[in-house]
Subunit: 258 residues, 2 copies
Amino acid sequence: METLKVIKIGGNIIDDEQALQLFLKQFADLQSPKVLVHGGGKLASRFAKKLGVEVKMMNGRRITNAETLEVITMVYAGKINKSIVSRLQAHQCNSVGFTGADGNSIVSVRRPVEDIDFGYVGDITRVNTDVLAILLNNAITPVLCAITHDEQGQLLNTNADTIAAEIAIAMSSHLKTELYYCFEKSGVLSDVNDENSVIEHIDSATYKSLLESKVISDGMLPKLTNSFHAVSNKVANVYLGTPEMLFTNNSKFTTIQL
Amino acid sequence: METLKVIKIGGNIIDDEQALQLFLKQFADLQSPKVLVHGGGKLASRFAKKLGVEVKMMNGRRITNAETLEVITMVYAGKINKSIVSRLQAHQCNSVGFTGADGNSIVSVRRPVEDIDFGYVGDITRVNTDVLAILLNNAITPVLCAITHDEQGQLLNTNADTIAAEIAIAMSSHLKTELYYCFEKSGVLSDVNDENSVIEHIDSATYKSLLESKVISDGMLPKLTNSFHAVSNKVANVYLGTPEMLFTNNSKFTTIQL
């Protein structure tokens, strides 16, 4: 079997109708087996506001109370996920939308309360690849949104970057797997304001020195942590950049290797 | 393989937290292969109101404009469907939530405008059982909500009773299939105000005479039309009644046969 591509798309694509349409057409045409992972932050905040649900942030992170979880479930698993699936079908890419509850595919525990109670936020404890593997073996593309569950009937909000990394790690025991983080930058930049400053290769040694020199922006740090977690657990390669890295040969991006 | 049960639950179960919890526990324990179909009307209307989306009815039927479809997609495919799937997982019933777009399982066309434009309402043209059959063969229960798609990227609102009938018909070509309509009455009543007036068996001849005598309530007519459509197309039996008909031996219900 070919290499599996686990592809995570960020809010800049989800929130831009034209960008999303183009991405889905190109994604559908990718010939390798593939998994798509998405969040959808801005849209969730917009609906929360419309419904009069207060969006509480703490250190830049969303506090997920019961009402917020309800909005997230409706927007991520309903509106965004089903819009993506129906449009992939229009491009002849047979797909099935997933939360971590579907097929019991991603199990998490509610994050323990230490200084902050993040609410209904789940930390992943186990990925069951059974159903995902069955679908992939039948040329069907799973589309996962950023929701997991605790096997006790509770859905939990979980970071989409982390979901993508854990899915890639779990699938690596079946077949060669690559992880792609698609976002608005051309990869990891040495100067956050200069798109030409892409660091094309990062290995453990350069990662360490980048951390020490504090070159990496705060927003990029979790992605790099997830990336090294993935390559340290049998994921073949991790790539960070704009979606063009998947579809053209002339874009710059960052490759992460051990 | 055993008999497949396609089970449709009505708004009276969806809208009653305690009834839903009990139903899902009993449903999870059913040993035969099974498919669950649900709508969720009242909850959708509640969220539409909260979001300031006007609910337009015409001859007792909902007009589905773009905003209404958005609400329906969020409530049916997001909130209700994922709540059901996560709770079935808690009862060790491995399930995957579906719209008709997922796995390209239910294809429809937007209803042509004659006297009334119903908006984004889909009439089913084809059921693809491929993905549903793959899941059932792996002991996984599909949970379908009342949304289909047109294969051109458009989701469409479709009556859940009709979805259940069409799924049952399509699955009948794979294995013996029974259809259950679970709702608030103990079946088809000869006196709508008397729960003891259940008509226990209806065949084509009694159906015709019931129609002529105008005994059947308006709300029951579409269910009976769907039921006879199903049994006329290889579905083994159709049952109408409260969920108890599935789980106990002492409840009354209506059995439909040709």
